[in-house]
């Protein structure tokens, strides 16, 4: 079992870069997710790690071996595909045994290993079934057993859960994490589902336009996104461009005031792009008092109920503010036109980008 190191991976298609200078180190035993919108290069990167695609420049290390010139069938990797890719002409047992037969193992060892692998995914009693006799979730488990049976150095998961319905997907996420922990294998998951990435991963790498935008733990990338792309891709977000007014108080283009904490550089930048997560906003239904810093009157434009929360689109000073209020807050959904007071703590105002350093 080993980690993965990517050094300066670029894939140049002549007219555009699919990947640009990706530097990444995935630790041994880590569950790492590559997250990004479709077309961002995450599957491309996974295929480069697997060896199905060759990079234009850069080096892939698995463990401490440079695998750049090693074909996929010699890399000893486990891979699970989006549509499971079970061999339809082989039984569950023969699917799981497929990779083992390439390893010159004795029949008895193969049988034992297949039984072990099927036990790991709790499908012992399905060994003689054909793939078409299994449900989507079961097929996916067979695919996982098949990938792990060869005792690979690394497990690669290419959007493995995206074909399953929501409830089954949740179950399989849990299952995947359990299996990964029990085997202790370095795992790379490619997904466009931010919730999946957040709940499963030790660390997440967010890819956008072929560039690795940020690498960090789930909490870190959600709470302290490195840039606007990451902030907007993971979760909903309110973004304000603001100009320093005095101290740590800024005035937004919409005209209301924000008070942030001191900037980490020690010197307050002049123009800043801030972010504020919708669930960090408190809602008061009793409208009173004047607007102050971090407290603003707003008008409801639309609200929708999603069970554990109420999503409200509001307008404050000509810009839209998204608010997520906890379910018990409102006995009935706030109606369009209703006035609310929104407020937030200054530590929830996050510096996203410094637009201009010069102080006036």
């Amino acid at each position: 079992m080993s980690g993965i190191k990517l050094e300066g991976i670029s894939l140049d298609y002549g007219n555009h870069f699919a990947l640009k200078e990706v530097e990444l180190e995935i630790k041994q035993g880590e569950f790492f997710s590559l997250l990004g919108p479709s077309g961002c290069g995450k599957s491309t990167l996974l295929n480069i790690i697997a060896g199905f695609l060759g990079q234009t420049t850069g080096v892939v290390y698995i463990g401490d071996q440079d695998v750049t010139n090693i074909p996929p069938y010699k890399r000893n990797l486990g891979m699970v595909f989006q549509n499971y890719a079970l061999f339809p002409h082989l039984s569950v047992r023969d699917n799981v045994a497929y990779g083992l037969k390439n390893k010159k193992m004795s029949k008895q060892d193969i049988k034992q290993k297949v039984d072990e692998s099927l036990a790991l995914v709790q499908l012992e009693s399905y060994a003689t079934r054909m793939p078409h006799q299994l449900s989507g979730g079961q097929q996916q488990r067979v695919a996982i057993a098949r990938a792990l049976a060869i005792e690979p150095n690394v497990l690669l998961l290419d959007e493995p859960l995206s074909n399953l319905d929501a409830k089954l997907r949740k179950e399989m996420q849990f299952e995947l994490r359990r299996i990964q922990k029990s085997v202790g294998i370095t795992t790379v998951l490619v997904t466009h589902d931010q919730e999946e990435a957040l709940s499963l991963s030790d660390r997440i790498g967010i890819l956008g336009d072929g560039v690795l935008q940020q690498v960090g733990e789930p909490l870190e990338v959600y709470r302290r996104p490195a840039n606007r792309f990451v902030a907007e891709f993971i979760g909903q977000v309110n973004i304000f461009d603001a100009v320093l007014s005095e101290g740590t108080v800024y005035e937004t283009t919409a005209g209301f005031k924000l008070e942030a904490e001191r900037h980490e550089s020690g010197k307050q930048p002049n123009r800043v792009r801030f972010m504020l997560r919708p669930e960090r906003i408190f809602v008061e239904q009793h409208v009173s008092g004047e607007d102050t810093a971090n407290r603003v009157k707003a008008v409801v434009k639309e609200s929708s109920y999603i069970g554990n929360a109420i999503r409200i689109r509001t307008e404050a000073g000509g810009i839209e503010l998204a608010v997520h209020a906890p379910d018990p807050m409102f006995p009935v959904l706030p109606a369009p036109g209703q006035e609310l007071v929104l407020s937030w703590k200054k530590e929830d105002i996050i510096y996203l980008e410094v637009l201009d350093h010069e102080s006036n």
């Binding site: 486990g78 891979m79 595909f81 890719a85 061999f87 497929y98 990779g99």
Partner: protein, 287 residues
């Protein structure tokens, strides 16, 4: 309610074809079947009364038995050669870039667009004693004497393969393009190189295509008579040629009918066996 109305509509769509086949295929076949049991006099004129004697003659006369055997043998050889040659062609068709694919398809079916006479004459020009192939081989001193390549069974098989190849390529190409691309990836990541992946994934998954192709090629090769007549000569021991002789030269129509039915039953048997294997396989793989 809606479903039955839809079924009725399908029936209406099928009707013209069914009526046509009924009048021009089924009725003549029934007539032929009756004919094959009718007695003949010494001049092979049909007379009253029914008999099995024509079938007994076909199935007990050594010459006819040898002919039946040869017919099946040639059909099997043709089928095998077609399948082997079809495989790389199907691969090329499936893997070629989209804009080339149409061109390859046309190239592939072009033998079918040529008249059998023209096609066969081309073979005569190529394979005759003073034909192109012998000329080249002689001029380059590879051989001293011209090879006998025409008017024998080899010529028949070569000509069969040429015209029947597309019928083998198309179903194999279809089966091949139905294989999901990431099955090959899955095989490779599990440690199989390209060759092993071919034998363990691609080849088994194209079995249905091969069986479909084999059914078509076999039945065509067992039943053709123009091609063997033109490149093999009329003395080749092939059942379609014997039928032709009985009708055109001997005028023993009931015997010809009995031979025709024997051939048809044999071909049906082979197709039934192949069809059974195909069905078995598809139930196993697709449920």
């Amino acid at each position: 309610m809606k479903a039955t109305r839809q079924k009725k509509f399908y029936g209406v769509l099928l009707a013209p074809t069914l009526i046509f086949l009924g009048i021009f295929l089924l009725l003549p076949l029934i007539q032929l079947l009756i004919l094959s049991f009718q007695q003949v006099d010494n001049f092979f004129e049909v007379i009253d009364g029914y008999t099995f004697s024509h079938y007994i003659e076909v199935l007990t006369t050594p010459v006819y038995l040898k002919t039946i055997w040869q017919t099946l043998f040639v059909a099997v050889i043709t089928t095998v050669i077609c399948l082997v040659l079809a495989y790389p062609a199907a691969y090329l068709l499936v893997r070629s870039p989209k804009r080339w694919r149409a061109f390859f398809y046309i190239l592939l079916v072009s033998p079918l667009l040529t008249s059998v006479v023209i096609r066969t004459f081309a073979w005569i020009i190529l394979l005759a004693q003073n034909g192109l192939v012998n000329d080249v081989l002689m001029k380059t001193s590879i051989i001293d004497e011209p090879l006998d390549m025409l008017w024998n069974m080899n010529a028949v098989i070569i000509a069969y393969v040429q015209v029947m190849l597309p019928f083998a390529v198309l179903p194999i190409a279809t089966a091949m393009s139905d294989i999901k691309g990431n099955l090959r990836s899955a095989s490779m990541i599990l440690g199989s190189n390209r060759i092993s992946t071919f034998f363990r994934v691609t080849l088994p998954l194209t079995i249905p295509g091969m069986i479909s192709g084999a059914m078509i090629v076999f039945s065509l090769a067992a039943g053709s008579y123009i091609t063997p007549l033109l490149v093999g000569g009329r003395m080749q021991p092939l059942l379609p040629l014997s039928i032709y002789q009985q009708i055109m030269q001997v005028y023993n129509l009931p015997l010809a009918a009995a031979m025709a039915f024997t051939l048809m039953v044999l071909v049906f048997l082979v197709i039934a066996v192949l069809g059974y294997i195909l069905k078995k396989w598809e139930v196993r793989v697709n449920g």
